[in-house]
Subunit: 162 residues, 2 copies
């Protein structure tokens, strides 16, 4: 169960036990260390680790932003290292202001399998262009701020002695 997700290879499946190779591996990434050696985390552990609230994690799942999260026999969520990797990516994308709807779209593509590689690449490329432009804008504003701050600094120094 739960091998519905398929990203090219990037998510570094990590630590515990033998896992089926979802895609024939032509790349492999060293797993970056996880808080514990396990592969099943409660929602509060994940909340702790990611800084998101448990509410938000459930909400992510509701809106389709999480690949199927495993459950215990009583219905409680158990997140895997793969899920944590996904959340790391989501956090990065959020940081750049990617709308949740776009991330959901991306998640859908991931769930849909390998046939969607091209579309995923396209989506990410478009977003990368956005980010580049945003950086340029921020740089522009930084210049204005520098200029203004200089002026205030000058005014202060002038009033201090002269």
């Amino acid at each position: 169960m739960t091998v519905t997700q398929s990203e090219p290879v990037t998510s570094g499946t990590t630590t515990a036990g033998p896992r089926p190779a979802t895609v024939r591996g032509c790349h492999t990434r060293p797993p970056h260390p996880r808080p514990t050696g396990r592969d099943r985390y409660t929602i509060s552990e994940v909340a702790e680790h990611t800084g998101l609230s448990a509410h938000t994690l459930r909400w992510y799942e509701r809106i389709g932003l999480m690949p199927h999260v495993d459950r215990t026999h009583t219905g409680q969520r158990r997140f895997s290292n793969r899920d944590l990797d996904w959340l790391d990516l989501v956090a990065k994308l959020r940081l750049t202001g990617m709308p949740v709807a776009d991330m959901v779209r991306y998640a859908e593509l991931v769930r849909a399998g390998e046939g969607t590689f091209a579309e995923r690449e396209q989506l990410l490329t478009a977003h990368r262009d956005d980010v580049r432009q945003r950086i340029a804008e921020l740089q522009g504003t930084l210049d204005v701020l520098d200029y203004k701050i200089d002026i205030y600094g000058d005014a202060r120094r002038a009033s201090e002695r002269c």
Copy 2:
């Protein structure tokens, strides 16, 4: 009337008619060109020029984000070049994600006069630090995006021929 605002000098008072020098000029900036040679613009002209809606301009005024905007005898707004300069700054700050509340605070300080230079400088400096950090974050995500896009590109090329 309407010389209640005082910024050190940066806002390049522009074009029409002699204006009282609000602060003794130790710097002067070349005025950047305005759509017309006038100094009184209707709300729709300003909307056109700034890309903001008339609604938003009124709302800015309501919440205290605009220095007093002049009115005709019938109560219609007439924006000055100075107002346009201010809106340019606001646009830049908005672009960096400065919360409206902070900009209102800054506007209050400007209205309060020269005694608030230090605090204004502080506010801008703090925001500049924010912006720098945001740029760094965006750069970080850009790296992740580059990496992912590479992977998708590789996968695509591999499936195309091999």
